[in-house]
Amino acid sequence: MTLDLSRRGFLLGLTAAGLVVSASSARAAADFAPNVWMRLAPDGTLHLTCNRSEMGQGIRSAIPALLAWELGADPGRVVVVQAPGDPAYGDQNTDGSRSIRTQYESLRRMAAVGRTVLERVGAAQLGVPAAEVSCRDHAVVHEASGRSVPFGALVDAAAAARLPDAARVALRPDPPASGWDLPLVDALDWVTGRAKYGADIVLEGMTTAVLVRPPVLGARVATLDDVDARAVPGVVDVVRMPDWSPPAAFQPLGGVAVVAEDTWTARRAAERLRVTWTDSPHDGASWAQDLAAMREAVARPGTPRRTVGDAEAALAGAARRIEATYVVPHLAHAALEPPVAVARRTPEGCEVWASTQTPQAARRVVAAQLGLDEAAVTVHVTFLGAAFGRKSKPDYVAEAALLADRVGRPVRVQWLREDAMQHGYYHASAVQRLEAGLDADGAVVAWRHRIASPTIGSTFDPDRHELRDSELGQGLADLPLDVPALAVETHPVQEHVRIGWMRSVYNINHAFAVQSFLDELAHARGVPLPDLVKALYGPPRPFGEAEAGGPISNYGAPLDAYPVDLARYHRVVDRVRALSDYDAAPAEGSAKGFAVHRSFLTYVAVVAEVTRGPRGEPRLQRAWVVADPGRSVHRDRVRAQLEGAVIFGASAALYGHLALVDGRFTADNLRDYRLLRMHEAPRSIEVEVIAEGDAPGGVGEPGVPPVAPAIANAWFALTGERVRELPMIDPLNGRREA
């Protein structure tokens, strides 16, 4: 059966809904609402719930489509409702590329409950057995007689019917693995400026706060002179924020807030605060020192994390040894919308509107900060001006709630771009030393990978300094190398900033090092990299923990349902090679580079074509992407995520760079944290999606990791210059760094 989600129908549906209507706010007694996911009105209007945050991945178009399909509903009569933060909606943390992956069946089950009831009461009305009817086109249809009854006419009977057990309800046969061509429910709102993001929420009597936060993590306000700030007309209050103790977790960072009648006044007054800060243990920290320490560390043995055979002995006995060290600096999410949240204290609790990936965590943090029961806190989810993991840390939401409580008026906390650059949670830097031993025939007989990289665990436990299994599991513990002797070793790193997950997370670091090093081996042996990868990863087989020589966290998914599947690796490698004409002689002045990586249970191979730009810098000209996510729902959004991943990955490869000096990053706006711009974007990105599997993998993140090494490998092919440290371009002068 095909799903005709007419553009017009879905667009009209959304326009009628608005985003910040909560699912529970408008339930009419006459409606059929078997669970929080659906509410059918007598006029046939069907409200379907999206429990995840819309941050550019198109989830508000995908989840309702899946529910509608299972229901046999007409998408043109669907209104999408955005769920507030509440455990009733299941896990709402929009993170880890898993909104479809982990909900593909459970969402359909919820819709199937409604469909089963409609079938039963519809069959009764038609006077036929329930087994002979089906739901289609917003009606219960008796195919044999051609008679049908529309959904709307069944509301009363359905609302009175007993509900079947969701765990045992029958699902329709699986949807097509390749998904559907679907429109974007929010497209019209996005192109007209009507879509409401966090900062666009306006409440009666609302104020705006701008904060001055400690310049170095862990510093506190020593002295505060707010006389000049308070003298600015329009300033409502100056509030000293509570100090905090480690772990940082999702706590507000402290500092001083200026609350004013409007944003510009708050900003101007904040500049007039005179604050001195206590010492912090991180005051003298610098990237130069940390980098030197990490380089020194990876020259030594570390904590064994993967052990196959005796890598030390095998390296010592190898006919030829190749080694290289790769550096990835800290990176920033740099979503175009800085963090923002609006809060108002109510007699019974607190109501929040936030651009958040995780309304449930936001609710917990607000409740904890205000000493409220979670039930007294409502968190509405607005559109997110992208997020990339930053907005799953609700420190800024807690700031808004604290200030609304103090000021007694609704408060919008607006992070300035400078705040977002200086006070974020940062992508972990990494120094990785790779060594390979080759025998006389050039076969790899030993492999050692040592890594020094701060753990996200340090943000939640100040005593943690070494990568956790779930972090190594992102492209290193699960790297399927068919090598007789292998060692992966980690080193502790003392961190000085809040480390947090950023799109693709540790996969970015691991893929850059591994795929670059494999290219070095391929050149040393004179074989094409795709051939080397297939030979070194080995023949089609499921790759498990015994062979890996260590645990494989596998993104929380069981290895039997989501094996590390070499056949799927081989397929994306072969397909991208053909699609990009990788083996053809390159055009004059250009070269291609290849990389492949599995992350979030999806396989992605990338070929990048680069040339020299006007300053001799690398320019990404074209890219080819082949992805195997198993299954997809919204075909075009899968492609869009992969296209965007090329740009995101290229920004990291070419420009991504934060330098710590005296305990703080030097970059404070997009001038010194450069991102790819239109004229630097490639001329084309060709995407091929292989969706022929049983289980859906992730989509939002897996496209990013192979991009940087593909560009770096292309640069080597073009220039003979090996990139071992990112970024490739000096962000300040636009030239290739020496």
Binding site: W190, V191, T192, Y197, D262, T263, L384, G644, N669, H679
Partner: protein
């Protein structure tokens, strides 16, 4: 101060140095224009002054006095400007946050250069960042809208 915004006369009592962005957003309730950087680096705040694209976050409101201000809310009556239609046809937006600025920049370009080359599109839109990476679809949509005119 007297302003004309999207064809409507508006009067605001405001310091002439306040950036136009904050007058539009905080005083006039026109929240389609976005704050992204405050320093003319990202283009999310792009509006038209007498048809030309400006970054409203660094434009003192005094500079808008006596000139026609157009924001995304005023680009078309029903969201059917050729660029808006092309944006939907090409499914350009991901998170959508930068798209008002992208559209306003593109609209100013097409008003001046009805049939731009790819290079002209790139140059005109270089001030507008898209962190989601929709550049190729933006480029295609602008060229499509230009061709459709």
């Amino acid at each position: 101060m007297k302003l004309v915004v999207n064809g409507q006369p508006r009067e605001v009592d405001v310091d002439p140095e306040v950036p136009l962005l904050w007058v539009l957003r905080d005083r006039l309730g026109l929240t389609g224009t976005k704050y992204g950087c405050g320093a003319a680096l990202c283009g999310a705040c792009t509006v038209h002054l007498d048809g030309r694209a400006v970054r409203s976050c660094v434009t003192p409101v005094a500079r808008a006095e006596g000139r026609a201000v157009t924001t995304i809310e005023g680009l078309s009556e029903a969201g059917d400007h050729p660029l808006q239609q092309a944006w939907i046809r090409h499914a350009v937006p991901q998170c959508g946050f930068c798209q008002a600025g992208q559209l306003m920049t593109a609209a100013a370009l097409l008003a001046e250069v009805p049939a731009p080359t790819e290079e002209q599109v790139d140059r005109a839109l270089a001030p507008n960042l898209c962190r989601c990476g929709t550049y190729l679809r933006i480029r295609a949509a602008v060229l499509d809208a230009a061709g459709a005119k």
